[in-house]
Point group: C2
Chain length 216, copies 2
């Protein structure tokens, strides 16, 4: 069987719309370097990139009462995010591991952007207690994370909730089942050489899922 | 062996400081009713309650760059939250299950309030890659959640990340190992009678962990 990225790549069109979402407080964080490597690789391969640095654009992660009632986005930035994610052929998310979860600004992007009728729906007549139907058309989703927790401790003590959160609770729920996540660690102990290798891994992963040309 | 709430209750002092944190957009949500039942029970038992409805107080969940650098809270509300959580003998958290995680406003409370030196620390000389030491003095933490996902589906499809997030990633990390979580479901299908029973369960659980008098 082909590796997942080849299965995805074989079914992709060229010139895709790819959404890249970054959430880290520091302008020059390693997370920002990962995002830059992903964006650069995607552009080099001829794709159209919608890049959002949620901190720099001051995205408001608090889902307001009126959005929960009406499903109408309460500001134009959220409306733009919803429009882009509907059109995305691929999605790339970058954030640090904070408490086994994304930072609040990224969690709020999920809460406000991946709304009913945008990212999923329910069968007619259902009151919200039934099985959802995913609406996202993206062919694959990639998540890049950074952590200061050793891998063995993450699995044994914390159970690595980020994996199920992104893979099952979010992307599979919205209909995106081709999923890969890479965790770079230990950031606090990393050398410039570690980081160069990690950025190369980002470029290779992104190019593997979203190559320049349809492969036969 | 005694049930967990009796083990905790047997070691508690009377007139405790209990922090109650609520995160839901609707003023009159069932989550708000859970919080009101918890606060009322705690006060009836003679405890001092610090109650925060994060939506109503407009808590800002976005950890700013300067807080990540300095560990100094960037606003007086966050400073108050940190002071209260240091002094809390017990903690009660109430929120809906959104994507297997808390709403962003609650995640941001964790990001900004449970900071290093407030909720945990590292051994001297460690650069953040080692084993943390929990600093919270709370004797127990309770989490009440609401959901529209059936229990079996939550376990089999999503893996119930909220359990590990609150129990292991957050409270055990900060030194609070006596933990209980209750999930009320299916909210969308619930009757007034279901809700009355659930609120009674909240009162009993809170009173079990934080009783009026030391039990011998």
């Amino acid at each position: 069987m082909l590796p997942l990225h080849r299965q995805v790549a074989n079914n992709l069109i060229t010139d895709m719309n790819i959404s890249v979402i970054l959430g880290h407080p520091y302008k020059d964080s390693f997370n920002a370097a990962i995002a830059a490597a992903a964006v650069e690789t995607l552009k080099k391969h001829g794709h159209t990139v919608s890049f959002h640095d949620l901190y720099r654009e001051q995205f408001n992660p608090v889902l307001p009462e009126k959005e929960l009632v009406s499903d109408v986005p309460g500001d134009s930035l959220t409306a733009l995010h919803q429009q882009e994610i509907r059109q995305a052929d691929g999605i790339v998310i970058i954030h640090p591991n904070w408490w086994g979860q994304p930072p609040a600004i990224v969690k709020g992007w999920v809460d406000r952007v991946l709304r009913e009728k945008v990212a999923y729906t329910f069968p007619k007549g259902d009151n919200g207690g039934g099985l959802p139907i995913g609406l996202l058309k993206a062919k694959a989703a990639l998540v890049f994370n950074t952590s200061n927790t050793p891998g063995e401790r993450e699995q044994s003590v914390f159970g690595d909730p980020l994996q199920r959160i992104w893979k099952d609770c979010i992307f599979a729920f919205c209909g995106v089942t081709a999923f890969e996540r890479k965790m770079f660690r230990i950031i606090a102990d990393s050398t410039p050489d570690d980081r160069r290798k990690w950025l190369e891994e980002v470029r290779e992963t992104v190019a593997g899922y979203f190559p320049a040309e349809k492969k036969e």
